[in-house]
């Protein structure tokens, strides 16, 4: 397009333009052309699969076997499936507990990093590593640290006198859930800390100084000055993180594979086991789609919240 323009002879004062270039002078046509690749890709690989997923979930398609319409039979089936119910409960628990810890620890770390000290840039760069390094790869390091026979964590706890025997971190249903939560918190804290730190840095230090001069103790300064100003960033970070955590897959897949005895399945890992592992595409799609109402709700809250912030 630009080449066509460059190759046409140019008259001084009134540039001559090719048909495409003049069409693109119209804002509406230009916008359409610029948005076309994005709309095609997102339509083909987000919108289309979404409807395909809805279609799959109301048929009884298996791998290689075209399905027939079965209505809500798949949803009925998973609703009465004990493992699915465990997965729902696990997902809610996992999302809630990790979010609370990530927010609390992330905020604490952000407040620590918001001070001036030597090597701050260095520390900040290193602290983000758990978030940068591919999750699956770092989770393997954790799996190795949790290994019942060779666990370094057991060794430390034993040497400190906390335990007398071995702890089977990933072999016991409750401990396995706790282990998964620990690793998720470990991976998520840097993201919270760095995002909240960016929020903290936009708060003018003069506000704190003013509050300090008025005699407000540190916790009051935090509660009445820092926290209200940090709330918009916090909201967005939490909503993003809730979506990611709710739909998490890799951590559980690597650490426990949903075991022991299906005790640590989340929506996504169970959908994978049913849809890909056993080839029941429809049922797997139905399990994935069961996440949708919650995700939808979070997205709506986020959109409303952003709109409210923008209008204020």
């Amino acid at each position: 397009m630009a080449i066509a323009y460059a190759s046409t002879p140019r008259r001084v004062g009134a540039p001559h333009r090719g048909p495409i270039t003049s069409l693109l002078e119209d804002e509406r046509w230009l916008a359409m052309a610029l948005l076309l690749p994005t709309v095609v890709l997102l339509g083909l690989f987000i919108a289309y699969p979404f409807f395909e997923g809805v279609y799959l979930s109301i048929t009884n398609t298996k791998v290689g076997v075209p399905g027939a319409f079965v209505g809500f039979a798949n949803f009925d089936k998973i609703w009465n499936d004990g493992i699915f119910r465990v997965a729902v409960w696990n997902t809610v628990l996992y999302t809630f507990v990790t979010t609370v810890f990530k927010l609390a620890l992330g905020l604490w770390l952000a407040l620590l990093l918001n001070r001036h000290f030597k090597g701050k840039a260095f520390v900040r760069a290193f602290i983000l590593l758990p978030f940068i390094i591919p999750t699956v790869l770092s989770t393997f390091a954790w799996k190795w640290m949790f290994d019942p026979t060779f666990s370094v964590i057991n060794w430390v706890l034993f040497k400190l006198g906390v335990i007398t025997g071995r702890i089977n971190w990933l072999g016991d249903p409750e401990l396995a859930m706790i282990s998964v939560i620990i690793v998720n918190v470990w991976r998520g804290v840097p993201f919270y800390a760095i995002s909240l730190l960016a929020g903290l840095q936009t708060i003018s230090p003069e506000l704190h100084e003013a509050a300090a001069i008025d005699g407000a103790p540190p916790w009051k300064r935090f509660w009445y000055v820092t926290w209200p100003l940090l709330l918009p960033v916090t909201m967005v970070v939490v909503l993003f993180s809730v979506i990611q955590t709710f739909a998490d897959f890799q951590l559980v897949y690597v650490l426990t594979g949903g075991g022991p005895a299906n005790a640590t399945h989340l929506f996504a890992t169970y959908a994978y086991q049913i849809g890909v592992g056993t080839g029941l595409l429809s049922e797997g799609a139905a399990i994935s789609l069961a996440m949708f109402p919650v995700l939808f709700l979070v997205v709506i809250i986020q959109l409303l919240y952003i709109r409210r912030v923008e209008t204020h």
Binding site: A31, F45, R115, I133, P134, T149, F191, V299
Partner: protein, 283 residues
């Protein structure tokens, strides 16, 4: 500044910060030490008297050697690199154009399109992987790098668009108008005046997109099946474990080497990465 007595500084600042740093970085130390630890030491139970977790007296390259000569690890690295670069390039291209259109042009449905793209940003991969696998099969893209090169942009484009919109909004309209008065077409003004100013934003979006593609797991796990097509995260997961047997030495070597490209890109562009990260959540 840090206020108060010296002990307060230790209790409320240095000690908590040290604990944070230690716990966040220890797994990486564990990865490194396992990589160079010989098998004889590796498989010594934690309650054995000669268990020395934090160091090794006989470091070895045997696990790295095994990984590079006996497995397809270098192929996976190349695959991952190719897929990450290609999907990042596609996403930057799309995100740059879409971001410009949404932030600087007036056209019908601009608002709802912007919201639509934002909403796709929030769609997790795990919601769609089963129907998408079906579609990939129907398009005959299964088990090829294209399956990932074309699908990764679905979670990268929204982010790139969003970030670029923020950058474009900050550039004054007058700059473009000046160029247009001088005879440049709208398209040329965009390419030669606006895009060069947005280079830091493009860099941030690109680095963030690259690390996200390198990290992606479930699409790669589901869409690829033959060992020589796999990416690093999937190859390490599926090929270095035989049944219930984990080859911990090569596994940790793979985790370590597989993290290096991302860590390198990150270390060169920390500021851009952080700008991308915080830009992605500021909205």
């Amino acid at each position: 500044m840090i206020e108060g007595a010296k002990w307060k500084r230790w209790v409320f600042f240095y000690i908590p910060l040290a604990v944070f740093i230690f716990s966040l970085l220890f797994p990486f130390y564990w990865m490194i030490i396992t990589t160079v630890r010989p098998d004889a030491e590796l498989y010594r139970p934690w309650n054995a008297p000669n268990y020395t977790p934090f160091w090794t007296t006989r470091p070895t390259w045997e696990h790295v050697d095994y990984l590079l000569s006996e497995t397809l690890f270098s192929t996976w690295m190349l695959n991952t690199m190719l897929i990450a670069l290609a999907s990042t390039a596609i996403s930057l291209f799309c995100g740059l154009l879409a971001g410009y259109a949404l932030s600087r042009l007036k056209f019908p449905f601009a608002g709802s399109l912007g919201t639509g793209i934002f909403v796709t940003y929030l769609v997790p991969q795990t919601l769609l992987f089963i129907p998408l696998a079906d579609i990939i099969r129907n398009f005959h893209l299964g088990d090829t790098p294209w399956a990932l090169i074309l699908t990764y942009p679905t979670f990268l484009i929204p982010f790139c668009t969003w970030l670029m919109m923020g950058y474009f909004k900050a550039i004054p309209k007058e700059l473009e108008e000046c160029a247009r008065i001088d005879g440049a077409s709208r398209f040329k003004a965009m390419i030669y005046i606006i895009f060069p100013i947005a280079v830091p934003g493009i860099l941030s979006a690109g680095i963030f997109a690259f690390t996200l593609s390198w990290n992606e797991f479930i699409y790669a796990l589901v869409f690829l099946s033959s060992p020589e097509q796999k990416t690093v995260p999937v190859g390490v997961t599926s090929e270095l474990i035989r049944g219930d047997v984990f080859f911990w030495g090569p596994l940790m070597a793979g985790a370590l080497l597989g993290s290096i490209p991302v860590a390198m890109v990150y270390s060169f562009f920390v500021e851009h990465y952080v700008a991308g990260l915080t830009g992605s959540v500021k909205g």
